[in-house]
């Protein structure tokens, strides 16, 4: 029936189909739909930059305006991937520039970006509006200067947790006076900033809704900035410290008055440096907050956090340090009834602080916040009973990531592994998409995961399991699995090779410090030409004609349509 409609009508209908997955599904219906869809596609998401080439992207989607690219594997965040592994954005930007694509938005995660790339980017796309860089590296503030100077209609510059070399230039001053279109600016990951340029920039950008400052912006400057931008919805403070000298009480009073005017702030973060006695200045806006991120605020103690939280009745997302303690989490549970997402980060890697959280805090949260659907919880210990209670109280988890600081710790009450606890979670949360395990775990937990976690897309395993069976339960059972990352677990060739076709249904598999051998990886690579099976070879382990029986320290495999990558460094071997 739809075949009798002109393409424009189909296109109009497809406009309402926005999610990547839905559009991918649409494109598979028939050739006509494939054709109409590809010409009208504006937003493209590429989860692994090595799965496809820029040329093929451009050929298929000539109308692309927004591109998201991801590079390094997730475990690169934790220093498990060596420097120079790859993930370069340069070839993408060059290809896009050559092709005259009207790129407006570029979002990169875990990629290597150079100043040259940023320069080319800034000059090649007249309508470029939005640059979002997350956990990237390889560039300096010179690159930022190019973006500031050349992107005339820039709306968004969002730098999240990147490693940026800071030069003496004042890149912020490179925004021309005519730049008045900024909506979002985040430079929290930088160490320095030109304050005068910042204040002028804020003053001439009345549409600014999201502003995240860095440590170098003192409280006095924050006050002046907020005076100019009371319309902010999203604020990341810089340094939130005032000495207790009498001079500064004037500043503090001014700050309080100014903050009272910022009635639109819903998201609050930053506090990269904070003096607790300054916190009351934000009390008046706490009642409006839906997102609060205090996970970098090392200077605030449990009792002060609690005072603050009591005022935040509308919170939906809370990111906090574990010094809030179990008691503090009980207060969260009784105050934040709309809480959907909670992240509790460790303030001490060995949990030696007496304030760290345990299963008690988590149970309290689950009991008070039934809407909880996303959890990241670093804790001292966990029990099966607690996890079972949490599973019962909160059946809506989409993301559940538990990190017990001692990674093989059993249930301290029963001394049993945590299989039953995690089993309860996967059984009750039918929409679970992401899961990270920790604690003492046998193959049994994987049996449960394979049986119940039907929607699971990403699974992170560390120091868990007893045999190949564990991994097999997961590979067989989790039909929607896309990303599997495993470290320090006794899974070997038998599990790896049982169902080689499975990996083409997934984005990637990472295995490090497991029992897979070079021979096993070679076999897999031979059988599956559309996988890149990469061995990361550090420590000259395999320098001299390595034996097939040798265990592989780090293996990363991913499906790809473009064969082995040409930019792999010496220490990465792509097996064929």
């Amino acid at each position: 029936m739809m075949n009798y409609f002109p393409d424009e009508v189909l296109e109009h209908v497809f406009d309402f189909v926005t999610s990547h997955r839905d559009r991918n599904a649409v494109s598979l219906v028939c050739k006509l739909w494939y054709r109409v869809e590809r010409y009208s596609r504006q937003r493209v998401f590429i989860g692994n930059c090595y799965a496809i080439s820029p040329e093929r992207l451009i050929a298929r989607f000539p109308g692309v305006k927004s591109l998201t690219l991801k590079g390094k594997p997730h475990f690169a965040d934790f220093n498990l991937v060596p420097q120079d592994w790859g993930g370069y954005v340069q070839p993408w930007i060059e290809a896009l520039a050559r092709s005259r694509i009207g790129l407006e938005e570029l979002r990169l995660k875990r990629m290597v970006v150079s100043d040259e790339s940023l320069d080319v980017l800034s000059r090649s796309f007249t309508n470029f509006k939005s640059l979002v860089l997350v956990s990237c590296e390889g560039f300096t503030t010179d690159g930022l200067a190019a973006i500031a100077a050349n992107c005339r209609f820039l709306r968004e510059l969002d730098l999240q947790e990147n490693e940026i070399e800071e030069k003496k230039n004042h890149w912020l001053g490179c925004f021309p006076d005519s730049c008045t279109s900024l909506v979002s600016l985040n430079f929290a990951c930088l160490k320095e900033i030109n304050l005068a340029a910042l204040e002028r920039l804020v003053a001439r950008n009345p549409n600014l809704k999201s502003l995240k400052l860095n440590r170098a912006v003192p409280l006095e400057a924050l006050q002046r900035i907020l005076m100019r931008a009371p319309q902010l919805v999203d604020l990341g403070t810089g340094s939130f410290v005032l000495d207790r000298d009498s001079d500064d009480s004037e500043t503090y009073r001014k700050l309080r008055t100014t903050i009272l005017k910022c009635r639109s702030i819903r998201n609050l973060s930053g506090f990269l440096e904070v003096a607790p006695h300054c916190l009351p200045a934000i009390y008046p806006i706490c009642v409006n907050l839906t997102y609060l991120n205090l996970s970098y605020a090392a200077g605030i103690h449990g009792s002060e956090l609690i005072k603050l939280i009591r005022l935040c009745g509308k919170l939906q997302r809370l990111w906090i340090l574990d010094c809030i303690g179990d008691k503090g989490l009980e207060i969260v549970a009784s105050t934040c009834k709309d809480l959907q997402e909670l992240r509790v980060f460790p303030s001490d890697p060995f949990g030696a602080g007496h304030d760290a959280v345990t299963e008690t805090g988590l149970v309290a949260i689950s009991s008070g916040c039934p809407k909880l659907n996303s959890l990241l919880y670093f804790c001292q210990q966990m029990t099966n009973a607690a996890l079972i209670a949490v599973a019962k109280n909160c059946p809506n988890f989409i993301r559940f990531r538990l990190c017990i600081l001692d990674p093989t710790k059993p249930d301290p009450v029963t001394m049993q592994p945590l299989d039953e606890g995690f089993g309860a979670i996967v059984q009750s949360s039918k929409r679970l998409r992401r899961l990270s395990l920790s604690g003492l775990l046998t193959d049994r937990v994987f049996l449960y995961i394979g049986m119940y976690a039907e929607q699971l897309e990403m699974l992170s395993i560390a120091f868990a399991g007893e045999s190949d069976k564990g991994m097999l339960y997961v590979l067989n059972g989790c039909k929607k699995l896309r990303k599997l990352e495993i470290r320090d677990s006794p899974f070997g060739d038998m599990a790896l090779l049982r169902d080689v076709g499975k990996y083409e249904t997934m984005r990637s598999l990472w295995m490090s410090s497991c029992d897979v051998t070079l021979g096993g990886c070679k076999t897999l690579a031979k059988k599956m030409p559309r996988l890149n099976v990469e061995i990361i070879n550090e420590n000259d382990q395999m320098e001299f004609a390595p034996e097939d029986s040798q265990k592989v320290e780090k293996m990363y495999l991913y499906r790809t349509l473009v064969g082995p990558r040409k930019d792999a460094p010496e220490f990465v071997w792509t097996l064929v």
Binding site: N79, L321, F345, P349, P410, M415, P417, R487
Partner: protein, 217 residues
């Protein structure tokens, strides 16, 4: 020492020796041994122990050769006990991004002022484990001073002119306290800055009674 190669003695073994109790297993100090129904022992994971990045002054050898495995495991077991108490580092664990690790490291840089000195210095309190270490560092920094332990008070002296200094600090509440009263860790948490005050000016502070000083190394 993989589970498959072990010969398990059944619990009902009547010899009377509880051989299970004395069996060597790998595990964290203080961890009790657990068996499942299948008889598999926990704490025998090769992976975990071998990834401990031991800062014991020897290179980080990771090899999968069988012989090396055993040696490494024995070494690691012995080393693990020591180094885990001394904050051993698992590579990439806990899984926290580098930008957050800086929060956790909590380098506690504080300013140190000495009465009469033209400029201040900064020290990272996290670098020291005791008051003695801190004072030694200050002694080095302000090279005109030497430590003088008088009645276990924390004092420094400039031998050139006999001027005595008393170490004081401003705590989180903004109060000036005498260095040395509280346990070291508590001091590190609450100290905002240090001032070496001339003893003659410190008369306002209550005289110290020679009670036991709780500042342990």
């Amino acid at each position: 020492m993989s589970p498959e190669n072990r010969n398990y003695l059944p619990e009902s073994d009547v010899i009377g020796l509880n051989l299970k109790e004395t069996e060597l297993t790998l595990g964290m100090p203080g961890e009790t041994r657990v068996t499942t129904d299948t008889g598999v022992k926990f704490g025998t994971k090769r992976g975990f122990s071998e990834t401990i990045d031991l800062n014991l002054g020897r290179s980080n050898v990771k090899c999968h050769d069988k012989v090396c495995d055993d040696e490494l495991e024995n070494d690691v077991l012995g080393g693990a006990t020591k180094s885990l108490t001394a904050k051993a580092q698992l590579v990439g664990w806990p899984p926290v991004r580098a930008s957050r690790k800086n929060v956790m490291k909590s380098c506690k840089f504080i300013k140190v002022a000495v009465d009469g000195a033209p400029y201040l210095r900064k020290v990272d309190l996290e670098m020291y484990n005791s008051y003695q270490q801190l004072l030694s560092a200050l002694e080095d920094m302000f090279s005109c001073l030497t430590i003088r332990n008088y009645l276990s008070e924390k004092k420094l002296m400039d031998p050139a002119n006999g001027v005595e200094y008393v170490a004081t600090y401003e705590d989180r509440d903004g109060d000036w306290m005498l260095v040395g009263d509280v346990p070291w860790k508590m001091f590190v948490e609450s100290c905002k800055r240090v001032r070496l005050m001339k003893s003659s000016e410190a008369i306002g502070l209550a005289p110290r009674t020679p009670q036991k000083c709780s500042s342990t190394a």
